[in-house]
Symmetry: C2
Subunit: 331 residues, 2 copies
Protein backbone atom coordinates (compact mmCIF):
# COMPACT_ATOMS: atom_id res chain seq x y z
CA UNK A 1 0.00 0.00 0.00
CA UNK A 2 1.02 3.62 -0.43
CA UNK A 3 0.68 6.59 1.89
CA UNK A 4 1.37 10.26 1.28
CA UNK A 5 4.89 11.35 2.23
CA UNK A 6 3.57 13.98 4.63
CA UNK A 7 1.33 11.41 6.33
CA UNK A 8 4.27 9.05 6.79
CA UNK A 9 6.45 11.87 8.08
CA UNK A 10 3.77 13.08 10.47
CA UNK A 11 3.17 9.67 12.02
CA UNK A 12 6.90 8.99 12.47
CA UNK A 13 7.40 12.42 14.05
CA UNK A 14 4.47 11.89 16.43
CA UNK A 15 5.86 8.52 17.43
CA UNK A 16 9.28 10.02 18.16
CA UNK A 17 7.74 12.80 20.24
CA UNK A 18 5.93 10.15 22.25
CA UNK A 19 9.29 8.42 22.70
CA UNK A 20 10.61 11.60 24.29
CA UNK A 21 12.33 13.37 21.41
CA UNK A 22 12.10 17.18 21.29
CA UNK A 23 9.73 18.50 18.63
CA UNK A 24 12.22 19.96 16.12
CA UNK A 25 14.54 16.97 16.38
CA UNK A 26 11.64 14.55 16.02
CA UNK A 27 10.66 16.36 12.81
CA UNK A 28 14.14 16.01 11.31
CA UNK A 29 14.70 12.46 12.51
CA UNK A 30 11.30 11.40 11.16
CA UNK A 31 11.99 13.13 7.85
CA UNK A 32 15.21 11.14 7.40
CA UNK A 33 13.32 7.88 8.02
CA UNK A 34 10.47 8.94 5.72
CA UNK A 35 12.87 10.03 2.97
CA UNK A 36 14.59 6.65 3.06
CA UNK A 37 11.25 4.92 2.41
CA UNK A 38 10.35 7.57 -0.18
CA UNK A 39 13.60 6.84 -2.02
CA UNK A 40 13.09 3.06 -2.04
CA UNK A 41 15.21 2.15 0.98
CA UNK A 42 12.44 1.02 3.34
CA UNK A 43 14.93 -1.32 5.02
CA UNK A 44 16.44 1.80 6.62
CA UNK A 45 13.21 3.78 6.58
CA UNK A 46 9.85 2.69 7.91
CA UNK A 47 10.85 -0.97 8.23
CA UNK A 48 13.70 -0.08 10.54
CA UNK A 49 11.68 2.29 12.68
CA UNK A 50 10.27 -0.28 15.17
CA UNK A 51 13.79 -1.43 16.03
CA UNK A 52 14.82 2.21 16.48
CA UNK A 53 11.94 2.67 18.97
CA UNK A 54 13.02 -0.45 20.85
CA UNK A 55 16.58 0.86 21.09
CA UNK A 56 15.27 4.18 22.44
CA UNK A 57 13.14 2.33 24.97
CA UNK A 58 16.14 0.29 26.13
CA UNK A 59 18.32 3.39 26.46
CA UNK A 60 20.73 2.38 23.70
CA UNK A 61 19.76 5.46 21.69
CA UNK A 62 19.57 8.64 23.79
CA UNK A 63 16.94 10.86 22.16
CA UNK A 64 18.25 13.97 23.91
CA UNK A 65 21.96 13.58 23.12
CA UNK A 66 23.65 15.87 20.59
CA UNK A 67 27.18 15.46 19.26
CA UNK A 68 30.01 17.39 20.93
CA UNK A 69 33.32 18.49 19.45
CA UNK A 70 36.21 16.79 21.24
CA UNK A 71 39.29 18.08 19.42
CA UNK A 72 39.94 20.13 16.29
CA UNK A 73 42.87 20.72 13.96
CA UNK A 74 41.90 23.20 11.27
CA UNK A 75 39.85 21.34 8.67
CA UNK A 76 39.69 18.14 10.74
CA UNK A 77 37.57 17.63 13.84
CA UNK A 78 36.75 14.76 16.16
CA UNK A 79 33.24 14.62 17.58
CA UNK A 80 31.59 12.46 20.24
CA UNK A 81 28.12 11.31 19.20
CA UNK A 82 27.19 10.58 22.84
CA UNK A 83 24.94 7.71 21.71
CA UNK A 84 22.39 10.10 20.20
CA UNK A 85 20.09 9.21 17.30
CA UNK A 86 22.38 8.03 14.52
CA UNK A 87 20.70 9.84 11.66
CA UNK A 88 20.62 13.18 13.51
CA UNK A 89 24.26 12.80 14.53
CA UNK A 90 25.26 11.96 10.95
CA UNK A 91 23.34 14.88 9.53
CA UNK A 92 24.99 17.25 12.00
CA UNK A 93 28.41 15.78 11.18
CA UNK A 94 27.99 16.28 7.43
CA UNK A 95 26.82 19.83 8.14
CA UNK A 96 29.98 20.30 10.19
CA UNK A 97 32.20 18.91 7.43
CA UNK A 98 30.55 21.26 4.92
CA UNK A 99 31.11 24.26 7.20
CA UNK A 100 34.80 23.33 7.37
CA UNK A 101 34.91 22.89 3.59
CA UNK A 102 33.53 26.40 3.10
CA UNK A 103 36.51 27.74 5.05
CA UNK A 104 39.26 25.31 4.02
CA UNK A 105 38.14 23.82 0.68
CA UNK A 106 37.85 20.42 2.35
CA UNK A 107 36.56 19.43 5.77
CA UNK A 108 36.45 16.22 7.74
CA UNK A 109 34.51 15.23 10.84
CA UNK A 110 35.25 11.94 12.56
CA UNK A 111 32.37 10.89 14.77
CA UNK A 112 32.69 8.35 17.57
CA UNK A 113 30.18 6.80 19.89
CA UNK A 114 27.22 7.16 17.57
CA UNK A 115 24.35 4.94 16.48
CA UNK A 116 23.38 3.43 13.11
CA UNK A 117 23.01 6.23 10.57
CA UNK A 118 20.15 4.40 8.82
CA UNK A 119 20.33 5.26 5.08
CA UNK A 120 23.90 6.41 4.43
CA UNK A 121 22.91 7.96 1.13
CA UNK A 122 21.00 10.66 3.03
CA UNK A 123 24.26 12.41 3.88
CA UNK A 124 25.47 12.19 0.30
CA UNK A 125 22.28 13.83 -0.97
CA UNK A 126 22.67 16.41 1.79
CA UNK A 127 26.18 17.35 0.62
CA UNK A 128 25.27 17.35 -3.06
CA UNK A 129 22.18 19.49 -2.41
CA UNK A 130 24.60 22.09 -1.00
CA UNK A 131 26.85 21.87 -4.07
CA UNK A 132 29.50 19.84 -2.27
CA UNK A 133 31.25 16.60 -3.04
CA UNK A 134 30.54 14.29 -0.11
CA UNK A 135 32.37 11.17 0.98
CA UNK A 136 31.37 9.33 4.14
CA UNK A 137 31.44 5.89 5.65
CA UNK A 138 30.52 4.09 8.84
CA UNK A 139 31.71 0.96 10.50
CA UNK A 140 29.18 -1.62 11.65
CA UNK A 141 28.93 -4.61 13.90
CA UNK A 142 30.86 -7.67 12.63
CA UNK A 143 28.54 -9.04 9.94
CA UNK A 144 30.83 -10.30 7.15
CA UNK A 145 33.55 -12.95 7.27
CA UNK A 146 36.86 -11.57 6.01
CA UNK A 147 38.27 -13.31 2.95
CA UNK A 148 39.78 -16.58 4.19
CA UNK A 149 37.47 -17.14 7.17
CA UNK A 150 33.88 -18.27 7.70
CA UNK A 151 32.73 -16.30 10.75
CA UNK A 152 31.81 -12.59 10.75
CA UNK A 153 34.79 -10.49 11.84
CA UNK A 154 34.53 -7.37 9.66
CA UNK A 155 31.69 -4.93 9.04
CA UNK A 156 30.04 -4.31 5.71
CA UNK A 157 30.85 -0.65 6.36
CA UNK A 158 28.66 1.31 3.92
CA UNK A 159 30.49 3.86 1.79
CA UNK A 160 28.82 6.92 0.24
CA UNK A 161 30.15 9.17 -2.53
CA UNK A 162 28.17 12.12 -3.85
CA UNK A 163 28.81 14.51 -6.73
CA UNK A 164 26.47 17.49 -7.22
CA UNK A 165 24.77 17.88 -10.59
CA UNK A 166 22.02 20.30 -11.58
CA UNK A 167 19.91 17.62 -13.30
CA UNK A 168 20.22 14.99 -10.58
CA UNK A 169 23.13 14.32 -8.28
CA UNK A 170 25.38 11.28 -8.62
CA UNK A 171 25.04 9.49 -5.27
CA UNK A 172 26.59 6.11 -4.62
CA UNK A 173 25.47 4.44 -1.39
CA UNK A 174 26.80 0.94 -1.00
CA UNK A 175 27.48 -1.58 1.69
CA UNK A 176 30.72 -3.50 1.15
CA UNK A 177 28.94 -6.80 1.25
CA UNK A 178 27.55 -7.76 -2.14
CA UNK A 179 24.12 -7.18 -0.59
CA UNK A 180 23.37 -5.24 2.57
CA UNK A 181 21.65 -7.14 5.35
CA UNK A 182 18.60 -4.95 4.75
CA UNK A 183 18.56 -5.62 1.01
CA UNK A 184 18.93 -9.34 1.59
CA UNK A 185 16.09 -9.34 4.12
CA UNK A 186 13.93 -7.55 1.54
CA UNK A 187 14.69 -10.22 -1.10
CA UNK A 188 13.95 -12.94 1.45
CA UNK A 189 10.65 -11.32 2.47
CA UNK A 190 9.57 -11.25 -1.18
CA UNK A 191 10.70 -14.85 -1.66
CA UNK A 192 13.08 -13.75 -4.42
CA UNK A 193 16.51 -15.14 -5.22
CA UNK A 194 19.45 -12.74 -5.32
CA UNK A 195 20.52 -11.74 -8.86
CA UNK A 196 24.10 -12.92 -8.18
CA UNK A 197 25.70 -14.97 -5.42
CA UNK A 198 25.61 -13.01 -2.18
CA UNK A 199 27.34 -15.34 0.23
CA UNK A 200 27.65 -18.91 1.42
CA UNK A 201 25.11 -21.29 2.88
CA UNK A 202 25.78 -23.25 6.06
CA UNK A 203 27.61 -25.87 4.00
CA UNK A 204 30.04 -23.33 2.56
CA UNK A 205 28.60 -23.26 -0.95
CA UNK A 206 28.11 -19.94 -2.76
CA UNK A 207 24.40 -19.26 -3.07
CA UNK A 208 21.81 -16.81 -4.34
CA UNK A 209 19.37 -17.78 -1.56
CA UNK A 210 19.11 -14.74 0.77
CA UNK A 211 17.54 -16.77 3.62
CA UNK A 212 20.40 -19.28 3.56
CA UNK A 213 22.95 -16.46 3.76
CA UNK A 214 21.13 -14.65 6.56
CA UNK A 215 21.10 -17.97 8.45
CA UNK A 216 24.80 -18.75 7.89
CA UNK A 217 25.84 -15.09 8.38
CA UNK A 218 28.44 -15.68 5.67
CA UNK A 219 27.92 -12.60 3.47
CA UNK A 220 30.29 -12.15 0.56
CA UNK A 221 32.36 -8.95 0.45
CA UNK A 222 32.28 -7.16 -2.92
CA UNK A 223 35.20 -8.35 -5.00
CA UNK A 224 36.06 -11.15 -2.54
CA UNK A 225 39.45 -10.18 -0.97
CA UNK A 226 39.15 -6.62 -2.26
CA UNK A 227 35.98 -5.67 -0.39
CA UNK A 228 37.30 -7.54 2.64
CA UNK A 229 40.44 -5.38 2.66
CA UNK A 230 38.51 -2.19 1.94
CA UNK A 231 36.10 -2.80 4.83
CA UNK A 232 39.01 -3.40 7.20
CA UNK A 233 40.87 -0.26 6.09
CA UNK A 234 37.77 1.97 6.34
CA UNK A 235 37.08 0.60 9.83
CA UNK A 236 40.60 1.44 10.99
CA UNK A 237 40.47 4.96 9.58
CA UNK A 238 37.11 5.65 11.21
CA UNK A 239 38.12 4.21 14.57
CA UNK A 240 41.50 5.99 14.59
CA UNK A 241 40.26 9.43 13.53
CA UNK A 242 37.22 9.26 15.80
CA UNK A 243 39.15 7.59 18.64
CA UNK A 244 36.12 5.34 18.70
CA UNK A 245 35.30 1.68 18.56
CA UNK A 246 36.47 -0.54 15.71
CA UNK A 247 34.16 -3.24 14.36
CA UNK A 248 35.55 -5.99 16.61
CA UNK A 249 34.46 -3.96 19.66
CA UNK A 250 30.82 -3.64 18.54
CA UNK A 251 28.08 -6.03 19.66
CA UNK A 252 27.03 -8.65 17.11
CA UNK A 253 23.43 -8.40 18.34
CA UNK A 254 21.53 -6.20 15.85
CA UNK A 255 19.38 -4.89 18.71
CA UNK A 256 22.52 -3.75 20.54
CA UNK A 257 24.64 -2.37 17.68
CA UNK A 258 25.89 0.94 19.07
CA UNK A 259 29.08 2.92 19.58
CA UNK A 260 29.85 3.18 15.87
CA UNK A 261 32.64 5.23 14.31
CA UNK A 262 32.06 7.30 11.16
CA UNK A 263 33.91 9.68 8.84
CA UNK A 264 32.35 12.60 6.94
CA UNK A 265 34.36 14.44 4.27
CA UNK A 266 33.01 17.40 2.32
CA UNK A 267 34.86 19.08 -0.53
CA UNK A 268 33.77 22.37 -2.04
CA UNK A 269 34.58 22.27 -5.76
CA UNK A 270 33.52 25.91 -6.15
CA UNK A 271 36.38 26.94 -3.86
CA UNK A 272 38.78 26.17 -6.72
CA UNK A 273 36.84 28.21 -9.29
CA UNK A 274 34.41 27.18 -11.98
CA UNK A 275 36.77 25.19 -14.23
CA UNK A 276 35.86 21.97 -12.50
CA UNK A 277 32.10 22.57 -12.63
CA UNK A 278 30.76 19.22 -11.55
CA UNK A 279 27.49 19.47 -13.50
CA UNK A 280 29.27 20.04 -16.79
CA UNK A 281 31.80 17.27 -16.15
CA UNK A 282 29.14 14.84 -14.92
CA UNK A 283 26.83 15.60 -17.85
CA UNK A 284 29.56 14.83 -20.38
CA UNK A 285 30.62 11.66 -18.58
CA UNK A 286 27.02 10.48 -18.22
CA UNK A 287 26.40 10.99 -21.91
CA UNK A 288 29.27 8.63 -22.70
CA UNK A 289 28.32 6.20 -19.95
CA UNK A 290 24.81 5.57 -21.24
CA UNK A 291 25.58 5.85 -24.97
CA UNK A 292 25.66 2.67 -27.04
CA UNK A 293 24.17 -0.78 -26.55
CA UNK A 294 23.05 -2.06 -23.18
CA UNK A 295 21.25 -0.46 -20.26
CA UNK A 296 23.53 1.43 -17.91
CA UNK A 297 22.27 3.30 -14.88
CA UNK A 298 24.29 5.82 -12.92
CA UNK A 299 24.37 5.86 -9.11
CA UNK A 300 21.36 7.89 -7.99
CA UNK A 301 19.23 7.37 -11.10
CA UNK A 302 17.14 4.65 -9.51
CA UNK A 303 16.65 6.74 -6.38
CA UNK A 304 15.34 9.69 -8.37
CA UNK A 305 12.87 7.50 -10.28
CA UNK A 306 11.50 5.92 -7.11
CA UNK A 307 11.37 9.32 -5.38
CA UNK A 308 9.29 10.78 -8.22
CA UNK A 309 6.85 7.88 -8.10
CA UNK A 310 6.58 8.12 -4.29
CA UNK A 311 5.83 11.83 -4.40
CA UNK A 312 3.23 11.29 -7.12
CA UNK A 313 1.49 8.12 -5.89
CA UNK A 314 2.53 7.94 -2.26
CA UNK A 315 5.33 6.11 -0.47
CA UNK A 316 5.09 2.33 -0.51
CA UNK A 317 4.75 0.91 3.00
CA UNK A 318 4.52 -2.56 4.47
CA UNK A 319 0.94 -2.66 5.80
CA UNK A 320 1.77 -4.58 8.98
CA UNK A 321 4.70 -2.34 9.89
CA UNK A 322 2.70 0.76 9.02
CA UNK A 323 -0.08 -0.36 11.36
CA UNK A 324 2.43 -1.06 14.12
CA UNK A 325 4.09 2.34 13.73
CA UNK A 326 0.77 4.18 13.59
CA UNK A 327 -0.14 2.51 16.88
CA UNK A 328 3.15 3.72 18.41
CA UNK A 329 2.18 7.29 17.51
CA UNK A 330 -1.42 7.16 18.74
CA UNK A 331 -2.96 8.07 22.07
Amino acid sequence: MRVAFETLHGVLAASLRKAGMAEDRAGTCARLFAEASRDGVASHGLNRFPRFLRMIARGIVDVAATPARVTAAGALERWDGRRGPGNLNARDAMDGAMALARSHGIGCIALANTNHWMRGGSYGWQAADAGMIGVCWTNTQPNVPPWGAADPRIGNNPLVLAVPRRDGHIVLDMALSQFSVGAMAAYAARGDALPVAGGYDEGGTLTQDPAAILASRRLLPIGFWKGSGLAFALDLIAAALAAGQATHQISQDPEEETGLSQVFIAIDPASLGSDGDTSRIADAALEHLIAGPGTVRYPGAGTLAIRARSLRDGVEVDPAIWTEVQASAAG
Copy 2:
Protein backbone atom coordinates in the same frame (compact mmCIF):
# COMPACT_ATOMS: atom_id res chain seq x y z
CA MET B 1 66.04 -14.84 -11.98
CA ARG B 2 66.79 -12.43 -9.16
CA VAL B 3 68.95 -9.32 -9.08
CA ALA B 4 69.98 -7.15 -6.17
CA PHE B 5 67.65 -4.21 -5.52
CA GLU B 6 70.50 -1.70 -5.91
CA THR B 7 71.50 -3.26 -9.24
CA LEU B 8 67.95 -3.00 -10.51
CA HIS B 9 67.65 0.57 -9.27
CA GLY B 10 70.98 1.55 -10.81
CA VAL B 11 70.16 0.17 -14.24
CA LEU B 12 66.73 1.83 -14.32
CA ALA B 13 68.22 5.16 -13.24
CA ALA B 14 70.91 4.96 -15.90
CA SER B 15 68.31 4.21 -18.54
CA LEU B 16 66.24 7.22 -17.48
CA ARG B 17 69.26 9.50 -17.56
CA LYS B 18 69.92 8.30 -21.10
CA ALA B 19 66.30 9.14 -21.89
CA GLY B 20 66.96 12.70 -20.80
CA MET B 21 65.82 12.77 -17.19
CA ALA B 22 67.79 14.89 -14.72
CA GLU B 23 69.96 12.88 -12.35
CA ASP B 24 68.08 13.35 -9.09
CA ARG B 25 64.70 12.82 -10.73
CA ALA B 26 65.97 9.74 -12.54
CA GLY B 27 67.08 8.32 -9.19
CA THR B 28 63.64 8.81 -7.61
CA CYS B 29 61.70 7.68 -10.67
CA ALA B 30 63.86 4.55 -10.97
CA ARG B 31 63.48 3.83 -7.28
CA LEU B 32 59.67 3.88 -7.57
CA PHE B 33 59.84 1.38 -10.46
CA ALA B 34 62.38 -0.81 -8.61
CA GLU B 35 60.33 -0.73 -5.41
CA ALA B 36 57.24 -1.91 -7.28
CA SER B 37 59.16 -4.97 -8.50
CA ARG B 38 60.72 -5.44 -5.07
CA ASP B 39 57.24 -5.51 -3.52
CA GLY B 40 55.87 -8.05 -6.01
CA VAL B 41 54.18 -5.67 -8.45
CA ALA B 42 56.45 -6.18 -11.47
CA SER B 43 53.51 -5.35 -13.74
CA HIS B 44 53.99 -1.74 -12.67
CA GLY B 45 57.71 -2.08 -12.01
CA LEU B 46 60.32 -3.50 -14.34
CA ASN B 47 57.76 -5.04 -16.68
CA ARG B 48 56.16 -1.68 -17.32
CA PHE B 49 59.45 0.16 -17.82
CA PRO B 50 59.90 -0.50 -21.58
CA ARG B 51 56.49 1.04 -22.30
CA PHE B 52 57.43 4.02 -20.13
CA LEU B 53 60.57 4.51 -22.24
CA ARG B 54 58.52 4.32 -25.44
CA MET B 55 56.13 6.95 -24.10
CA ILE B 56 59.07 9.21 -23.25
CA ALA B 57 60.50 8.69 -26.73
CA ARG B 58 57.16 9.60 -28.32
CA GLY B 59 56.84 12.74 -26.21
CA ILE B 60 53.77 11.52 -24.31
CA VAL B 61 55.71 11.66 -21.03
CA ASP B 62 57.78 14.83 -20.60
CA VAL B 63 60.80 13.88 -18.47
CA ALA B 64 61.49 17.52 -17.57
CA ALA B 65 57.98 18.55 -16.53
CA THR B 66 57.14 19.13 -12.88
CA PRO B 67 53.67 19.72 -11.44
CA ALA B 68 52.48 23.29 -10.94
CA ARG B 69 49.89 24.60 -8.52
CA VAL B 70 46.93 26.10 -10.40
CA THR B 71 44.55 27.20 -7.63
CA ALA B 72 44.39 26.77 -3.88
CA ALA B 73 41.71 27.05 -1.20
CA GLY B 74 43.24 26.38 2.21
CA ALA B 75 43.61 22.64 2.59
CA LEU B 76 42.61 21.92 -1.01
CA GLU B 77 44.78 22.56 -4.06
CA ARG B 78 44.55 21.89 -7.78
CA TRP B 79 47.76 21.03 -9.59
CA ASP B 80 48.64 20.63 -13.27
CA GLY B 81 50.88 17.62 -13.86
CA ARG B 82 52.01 19.05 -17.23
CA ARG B 83 52.35 15.51 -18.62
CA GLY B 84 55.41 14.80 -16.48
CA PRO B 85 56.41 11.31 -15.30
CA GLY B 86 53.37 9.91 -13.53
CA ASN B 87 55.12 8.40 -10.56
CA LEU B 88 57.13 11.56 -9.84
CA ASN B 89 54.01 13.71 -10.15
CA ALA B 90 52.08 11.41 -7.81
CA ARG B 91 54.88 11.37 -5.27
CA ASP B 92 55.03 15.17 -5.29
CA ALA B 93 51.26 15.38 -4.97
CA MET B 94 51.15 13.11 -1.92
CA ASP B 95 53.98 15.16 -0.42
CA GLY B 96 51.87 18.26 -1.07
CA ALA B 97 48.80 16.72 0.53
CA MET B 98 50.86 15.76 3.59
CA ALA B 99 52.23 19.30 3.89
CA LEU B 100 48.65 20.61 3.87
CA ALA B 101 47.64 17.99 6.44
CA ARG B 102 50.40 19.14 8.78
CA SER B 103 48.85 22.64 8.73
CA HIS B 104 45.14 21.80 8.49
CA GLY B 105 44.77 18.24 9.84
CA ILE B 106 43.70 17.09 6.37
CA GLY B 107 45.00 18.05 2.93
CA CYS B 108 43.91 17.30 -0.60
CA ILE B 109 45.69 17.73 -3.92
CA ALA B 110 43.80 17.18 -7.16
CA LEU B 111 46.18 16.56 -10.02
CA ALA B 112 45.22 16.96 -13.68
CA ASN B 113 47.08 16.29 -16.86
CA THR B 114 49.37 13.63 -15.45
CA ASN B 115 50.55 10.20 -16.57
CA HIS B 116 50.03 6.69 -15.19
CA TRP B 117 51.22 6.61 -11.58
CA MET B 118 52.45 3.02 -11.97
CA ARG B 119 52.02 1.25 -8.59
CA GLY B 120 49.39 3.24 -6.71
CA GLY B 121 50.35 1.63 -3.42
CA SER B 122 53.64 3.57 -3.52
CA TYR B 123 51.84 6.73 -2.42
CA GLY B 124 50.02 4.89 0.35
CA TRP B 125 53.30 3.56 1.76
CA GLN B 126 54.72 7.07 1.38
CA ALA B 127 51.93 8.57 3.52
CA ALA B 128 52.03 5.81 6.12
CA ASP B 129 55.82 6.06 6.40
CA ALA B 130 55.24 9.68 7.43
CA GLY B 131 52.64 8.65 10.03
CA MET B 132 49.74 9.84 7.89
CA ILE B 133 46.54 8.21 6.75
CA GLY B 134 46.61 8.32 2.96
CA VAL B 135 43.73 7.99 0.49
CA CYS B 136 44.33 8.40 -3.22
CA TRP B 137 42.91 7.30 -6.51
CA THR B 138 43.42 7.79 -10.23
CA ASN B 139 41.23 7.51 -13.24
CA THR B 140 42.38 5.46 -16.21
CA GLN B 141 41.59 4.94 -19.85
CA PRO B 142 38.24 3.20 -20.47
CA ASN B 143 39.08 -0.45 -19.74
CA VAL B 144 35.99 -1.91 -18.04
CA PRO B 145 32.41 -2.15 -19.29
CA PRO B 146 29.99 -0.52 -16.86
CA TRP B 147 27.38 -2.84 -15.39
CA GLY B 148 24.75 -3.33 -18.09
CA ALA B 149 27.03 -2.88 -21.13
CA ALA B 150 29.67 -4.96 -22.92
CA ASP B 151 32.16 -2.37 -24.17
CA PRO B 152 34.73 -0.53 -22.00
CA ARG B 153 33.38 2.86 -20.92
CA ILE B 154 34.67 3.24 -17.36
CA GLY B 155 38.16 2.97 -15.90
CA ASN B 156 39.24 0.45 -13.30
CA ASN B 157 40.43 3.49 -11.32
CA PRO B 158 42.78 2.09 -8.66
CA LEU B 159 42.02 3.16 -5.09
CA VAL B 160 44.61 3.24 -2.31
CA LEU B 161 44.03 3.50 1.45
CA ALA B 162 46.89 3.49 3.93
CA VAL B 163 46.94 3.43 7.72
CA PRO B 164 50.27 3.81 9.53
CA ARG B 165 51.30 1.10 12.00
CA ARG B 166 54.61 0.64 13.75
CA ASP B 167 54.84 -3.09 12.95
CA GLY B 168 53.84 -2.81 9.28
CA HIS B 169 51.45 -0.38 7.69
CA ILE B 170 47.99 -1.38 6.45
CA VAL B 171 48.07 -0.50 2.73
CA LEU B 172 45.23 -1.40 0.40
CA ASP B 173 46.01 -0.90 -3.30
CA MET B 174 43.27 -2.17 -5.55
CA ALA B 175 41.99 -1.66 -9.05
CA LEU B 176 38.20 -1.62 -9.23
CA SER B 177 38.17 -4.42 -11.74
CA GLN B 178 38.26 -7.83 -10.08
CA PHE B 179 41.78 -8.11 -11.50
CA SER B 180 43.95 -5.26 -12.78
CA VAL B 181 45.05 -5.47 -16.40
CA GLY B 182 48.59 -5.98 -15.13
CA ALA B 183 47.61 -8.78 -12.77
CA MET B 184 45.63 -10.51 -15.50
CA ALA B 185 48.55 -10.26 -17.93
CA ALA B 186 50.77 -11.83 -15.26
CA TYR B 187 48.35 -14.77 -14.83
CA ALA B 188 48.17 -15.16 -18.61
CA ALA B 189 51.97 -15.09 -18.96
CA ARG B 190 52.24 -17.88 -16.38
CA GLY B 191 49.48 -19.84 -18.10
CA ASP B 192 47.43 -19.80 -14.90
CA ALA B 193 43.67 -19.52 -14.53
CA LEU B 194 42.28 -16.73 -12.37
CA PRO B 195 41.17 -17.86 -8.89
CA VAL B 196 37.65 -16.44 -9.47
CA ALA B 197 35.83 -15.16 -12.54
CA GLY B 198 37.46 -11.94 -13.74
CA GLY B 199 35.29 -11.02 -16.71
CA TYR B 200 33.56 -12.29 -19.81
CA ASP B 201 34.88 -14.02 -22.90
CA GLU B 202 33.96 -12.86 -26.40
CA GLY B 203 30.77 -14.89 -26.17
CA GLY B 204 29.62 -13.11 -23.02
CA THR B 205 30.24 -16.00 -20.62
CA LEU B 206 31.88 -15.36 -17.25
CA THR B 207 35.34 -16.91 -17.28
CA GLN B 208 38.49 -17.45 -15.24
CA ASP B 209 40.65 -17.42 -18.39
CA PRO B 210 42.74 -14.23 -18.28
CA ALA B 211 43.68 -14.38 -21.98
CA ALA B 212 40.02 -14.59 -23.01
CA ILE B 213 39.20 -11.55 -20.89
CA LEU B 214 42.15 -9.53 -22.17
CA ALA B 215 40.95 -10.35 -25.71
CA SER B 216 37.30 -9.42 -25.09
CA ARG B 217 38.22 -6.40 -22.93
CA ARG B 218 35.22 -7.25 -20.77
CA LEU B 219 36.72 -7.03 -17.29
CA LEU B 220 34.35 -7.47 -14.37
CA PRO B 221 34.06 -4.62 -11.87
CA ILE B 222 34.34 -5.70 -8.22
CA GLY B 223 30.89 -6.37 -6.87
CA PHE B 224 29.28 -6.08 -10.33
CA TRP B 225 27.14 -2.88 -10.25
CA LYS B 226 28.83 -1.67 -7.08
CA GLY B 227 32.35 -1.42 -8.48
CA SER B 228 30.91 0.01 -11.67
CA GLY B 229 29.25 2.83 -9.75
CA LEU B 230 32.28 3.38 -7.54
CA ALA B 231 34.60 3.71 -10.54
CA PHE B 232 32.27 6.22 -12.15
CA ALA B 233 31.96 8.33 -8.98
CA LEU B 234 35.72 8.36 -8.35
CA ASP B 235 36.31 9.40 -11.96
CA LEU B 236 33.92 12.34 -11.63
CA ILE B 237 35.43 13.53 -8.35
CA ALA B 238 38.96 13.39 -9.78
CA ALA B 239 38.03 15.13 -13.03
CA ALA B 240 35.99 17.84 -11.27
CA LEU B 241 38.49 18.66 -8.53
CA ALA B 242 41.45 18.57 -10.91
CA ALA B 243 39.53 20.26 -13.74
CA GLY B 244 41.07 17.49 -15.81
CA GLN B 245 39.99 14.76 -18.15
CA ALA B 246 37.40 12.17 -17.20
CA THR B 247 37.85 8.56 -18.33
CA HIS B 248 35.76 9.00 -21.49
CA GLN B 249 38.24 11.64 -22.71
CA ILE B 250 41.29 9.39 -22.35
CA SER B 251 42.71 7.32 -25.22
CA GLN B 252 41.88 3.62 -25.16
CA ASP B 253 45.32 2.82 -26.61
CA PRO B 254 47.55 1.68 -23.70
CA GLU B 255 50.55 3.28 -25.42
CA GLU B 256 48.74 6.63 -25.48
CA GLU B 257 47.05 6.66 -22.07
CA THR B 258 47.81 10.15 -20.78
CA GLY B 259 46.12 13.21 -19.31
CA LEU B 260 44.89 11.38 -16.21
CA SER B 261 43.18 12.96 -13.20
CA GLN B 262 44.06 11.96 -9.65
CA VAL B 263 43.18 12.81 -6.05
CA PHE B 264 45.55 12.63 -3.06
CA ILE B 265 44.21 13.03 0.47
CA ALA B 266 46.41 12.94 3.56
CA ILE B 267 45.09 13.04 7.13
CA ASP B 268 47.31 13.55 10.13
CA PRO B 269 45.87 11.51 13.00
CA ALA B 270 48.43 12.98 15.40
CA SER B 271 46.90 16.42 14.87
CA LEU B 272 43.94 15.27 16.99
CA GLY B 273 46.09 13.97 19.84
CA SER B 274 47.19 10.48 20.77
CA ASP B 275 43.79 8.97 21.65
CA GLY B 276 43.37 7.66 18.12
CA ASP B 277 46.86 6.16 17.89
CA THR B 278 46.61 4.17 14.69
CA SER B 279 49.16 1.52 15.72
CA ARG B 280 47.30 0.63 18.88
CA ILE B 281 43.93 0.56 17.11
CA ALA B 282 45.27 -1.41 14.16
CA ASP B 283 47.08 -3.90 16.40
CA ALA B 284 43.88 -4.67 18.32
CA ALA B 285 41.80 -4.94 15.14
CA LEU B 286 44.40 -7.16 13.45
CA GLU B 287 44.48 -9.48 16.44
CA HIS B 288 40.73 -10.05 16.07
CA LEU B 289 40.90 -10.24 12.28
CA ILE B 290 43.38 -13.11 12.19
CA ALA B 291 42.14 -14.93 15.32
CA GLY B 292 40.17 -18.15 14.88
CA PRO B 293 39.89 -20.65 12.04
CA GLY B 294 40.88 -19.82 8.49
CA THR B 295 43.74 -17.86 6.98
CA VAL B 296 43.13 -14.12 6.83
CA ARG B 297 45.68 -11.67 5.50
CA TYR B 298 45.52 -7.93 6.02
CA PRO B 299 46.19 -5.44 3.19
CA GLY B 300 49.94 -4.94 3.05
CA ALA B 301 50.94 -8.23 4.67
CA GLY B 302 51.74 -9.89 1.35
CA THR B 303 53.75 -6.87 0.25
CA LEU B 304 55.91 -6.96 3.36
CA ALA B 305 56.62 -10.68 2.95
CA ILE B 306 57.66 -10.28 -0.70
CA ARG B 307 59.71 -7.18 0.13
CA ALA B 308 61.65 -9.07 2.80
CA ARG B 309 62.40 -11.94 0.39
CA SER B 310 63.45 -9.49 -2.36
CA LEU B 311 65.83 -7.66 -0.06
CA ARG B 312 67.31 -10.97 1.14
CA ASP B 313 67.52 -12.94 -2.11
CA GLY B 314 67.24 -10.25 -4.77
CA VAL B 315 64.28 -8.89 -6.72
CA GLU B 316 62.66 -11.34 -9.12
CA VAL B 317 62.93 -10.12 -12.74
CA ASP B 318 61.73 -11.42 -16.07
CA PRO B 319 65.01 -12.36 -17.83
CA ALA B 320 63.97 -11.09 -21.28
CA ILE B 321 62.69 -7.76 -19.98
CA TRP B 322 65.74 -7.37 -17.74
CA THR B 323 68.02 -7.91 -20.74
CA GLU B 324 66.04 -5.38 -22.76
CA VAL B 325 66.18 -2.75 -20.01
CA GLN B 326 69.88 -3.33 -19.38
CA ALA B 327 70.47 -2.65 -23.07
CA SER B 328 68.53 0.61 -22.82
CA ALA B 329 70.89 1.74 -20.07
CA ALA B 330 74.11 0.73 -21.74
CA GLY B 331 76.51 2.65 -23.94
